[in-house]
């Protein structure tokens, strides 16, 4: 599962080595068993419920996990999805990653009820410390088993925190204090606290962890370099993969008479 580092970085830079050939970008990454990245806040939840529906329909024992933020948690379509998932016992885990802010609006300013794990009402919900790696793992294991046993859907709220701004254009300090950010980084950081935990438990040493860090740094640095050096797809792909079966001949371009040839490149996993 998942996409290698290079595939993600190249996609962020819009290059052809990206997991969507640079055509999707930061919000639209796809891989086996991974359906995006959806740019419309909240839309992924009914889509995820649909993937859960398909698991149940096919009887393949699969489970869908749909992740959304505290900002998306008030979207109406989530409640529509919870309702149908509950009516039809869909194998879905709905995960609210509550990092305290939707863009620049704090959870308290956006939600009349900030206990997101309760917002599923008739859908059982679990509150999880999202900064604790083991807690998240165990909660997910538990939720997954519930779903596999036909007792889904389940809701999970993972309490976490967002260090940086919402996006590249947001310094992240106009709506909160630097002290707040520092405090979380010092006391609740998931990586630092897990590191301390396993060192104190004698499972590893600081030196071993430093080696892992260095190895990964090399890998990520290389992927970054390769991604930056990678090119974009050519203009010949402008009209690629609009349809699995194009029925319209050439695709219209900018000026009357301009056309692009529609070609197919991708794997079309649902075509047969």
């Amino acid at each position: 599962m998942g996409v290698p580092v290079f595939g993600v970085l190249a996609e962020l830079l819009g290059r052809k080595g990206g997991c969507a050939r640079g055509k999707g970008g930061s919000m639209h990454m796809y891989a086996p068993n991974f359906y995006g990245g959806n740019g419309i806040v909240g839309a992924q939840v009914p889509l995820g419920a649909g993937l859960g529906f398909a698991h149940k329909y096919k009887g393949d024992g699969g489970v869908n996990i749909s992740l959304y933020g505290d900002g998306a948690a008030n979207q109406g379509q989530l409640f529509e999805a919870y309702n149908m998932a509950k009516l039809w016992n869909l194998p879905c885990i709905f995960v609210c990653e509550n990092n305290g802010y939707g863009m620049g609006t704090s959870a308290e300013r956006a939600s009349a009820n900030v206990n997101y794990y309760t917002r599923g009402d008739y859908v059982p919900g679990i509150w999880v410390d999202g900064m604790d790696v083991l807690a998240v793992r165990e909660a997910t294991r538990f939720a997954k088993q519930l779903c596999v046993d036909g007792q889904g859907p389940v809701l999970m709220e993972t309490a976490t925190y967002r260090y940086s701004g919402h996006s590249m254009s947001d310094p992240g300090t106009s709506y909160r204090t630097r002290e707040e950010i520092q405090e979380v980084r010092q006391s609740r950081d998931p990586i630092t606290s897990f590191k301390d935990k396993i060192i104190n438990a004698g499972l590893t040493t600081a030196e071993e962890l430093k080696n892992i860090d260095n190895e990964i740094r090399v890998e990520v640095d290389k992927a970054t370099k390769d991604a930056k050096a990678d090119g974009e797809i050519s203009l010949e792909e402008l009209a690629a993969d609009i349809y699995a079966t194009n029925l319209d001949g050439p695709v219209r371009g900018l000026v009357s008479g301009d056309t692009f040839k529609h070609i197919n490149i991708g794997a079309q996993v649902n075509a047969k």
Binding site: A20, R21, G22, K23, G24, H28, Y30, Y35, G36, N38, G39, I40, A43, V45, P46, L47, G48, A49, G50, L51, G52, F53, A54, H55, Y57, K58, G76, Q77, F79, E80, A81, N83, M84, L87, W88, A240, D241, I242, Y243, A244, T245, L247, D248, G249, V251, S256, G257, N264, I265, G266, A267, Q268, V269, N270, A271
Partner: protein, 366 residues
């Protein structure tokens, strides 16, 4: 009376069919042979869905009242009884939610038929139709195709007022990534709905409530289980030489009525049934233009940025423009929200006489 004489003197089977045609009076399919079976649009759609569900177990129907109610307009009658809860699913009244669920199921390779009770309610779900269904194949660089059909009645019905009468042909035809079908006859509905269900891309299938009960004569070929029509190909319903009437859905009926009236005035109209709005079959249109040199667009939807506007623009920006002997005219719904009062409603949707008026205006201008 003529009919009784025929019953007496000719075999009863022939007479029955002949009487049938007289009674039904709607023998409007150019391709139908002199003999054929009467099939309503409703039954055409119903049998198409049934056969495709039988053929491919990934096909399922989801929507409001599709199962135990047998369908708000009875299009899915009998299907729940035959296929059960797993494949014919009643949803709560939550269009955005169930359109999203249906689309997600299509991501996973199922073949959903997502019904909107009318396309007016599809506006609640339009984000999933466009952003989740239409665009995903492109955004995923061709990895995830979305084999979903969104279907339901579209456009004006009768006495349902402004919020329930809008035509969405232009809205959906606007978007790359969708295929948009707007059928007219039972033959259209059978062949194109089967094609839509088998198509690997998202298809918006715009039916018409007023046409549901209309019987059409269909050949045996139309009734066969693998009868599929090509998406994106228009049909010449009536050949003619003086003017081309281009229409889709119920406006095809209006155009055929107008053509009948016009023939009484010595004007021979060709009627093109678009069948598909995206992609548009410009080849058929341009062939007709080369013959008649006069085009009148007929549609029930609003004129602004409508289907007629698009076809008009495509002709105007190409050399085909020089084939025109007169400017293209459009006959469309009035540019107003649909009123409720009967006479006002009648004045908001083009009737045959409006098309006749447009044609006569155009030809007199020459």
């Amino acid at each position: 009376m003529e009919s009784t004489r025929i019953v007496k003197n000719v075999g009863s089977l022939f007479a029955k069919k002949w009487l049938c045609r007289q009674v039904l009076g709607r023998n409007l399919s150019v391709s139908a042979a002199a003999r054929g079976k009467a099939l309503t649009v409703r039954d055409a759609l119903n049998t198409a869905i049934d056969e495709e569900m039988e053929r491919d177990e990934r096909v399922f129907v989801m929507g409001e009242e599709v199962a135990q109610y047998d369908g708000a307009y009875k299009i899915t009658r009998g299907l729940w009884k035959k296929y059960g809860d797993k494949r014919v699913i009643d949803t709560p009244i939550t269009e955005m939610g169930f359109a999203g669920i249906a689309t997600g199921a299509a991501f996973a390779g199922l073949r959903p038929i997502c019904e909107f009770m009318t396309f007016n309610f599809s506006m609640q779900a339009i984000d999933h139709i466009i952003n989740s269904a239409a665009k995903t194949f492109y955004m995923s660089a061709g990895a995830v195709n979305v084999p979903i059909v969104f279907r339901g009645p579209n456009g004006a019905a009768s006495g349902v007022a402004a919020q329930h009468s809008q035509c969405f042909g232009a809205w959906y035809a606007h978007c790359p990534g969708l295929k948009v079908i707007s059928p007219y006859s039972s033959e259209d509905c059978r062949g194109l709905l089967k094609a839509a269900i088998r198509d690997p891309d998202p298809v918006v299938f715009l039916e018409n409530e007023i046409l549901y009960g209309l019987p059409f004569e269909v050949s045996d070929e139309v009734l066969s289980k693998d009868f599929v029509l090509p998406i994106g190909k228009a049909k010449v319903e009536r050949a003619g030489n003086h003017v081309t009437l281009i229409a889709h859905s119920r406006a095809v009926q209006t155009s055929l009525e107008a053509a009948k009236e016009l023939s009484g005035s010595g004007i021979d109209a060709e009627v093109i049934n678009l069948r598909t709005l995206r992609p548009l079959d410009m080849d058929t249109i341009l062939t007709s233009l080369a013959k008649t040199h006069h085009i009148v667009m007929v549609e029930q939807g609003w004129p602004t940025a409508g289907i007629g506007a698009e076809i008009s623009a495509r002709i105007s920006e190409s050399n085909a423009f020089f084939q025109l002997d007169a400017p293209i005219l459009r006959v469309s719904g009035a540019d107003i929200p649909m009123p409720y009062a009967k006479t006002l409603e009648g004045a908001s949707i083009p009737q045959a006489q409006d098309v006749v008026r447009a044609v006569k205006t155009m030809l007199n201008q020459k």
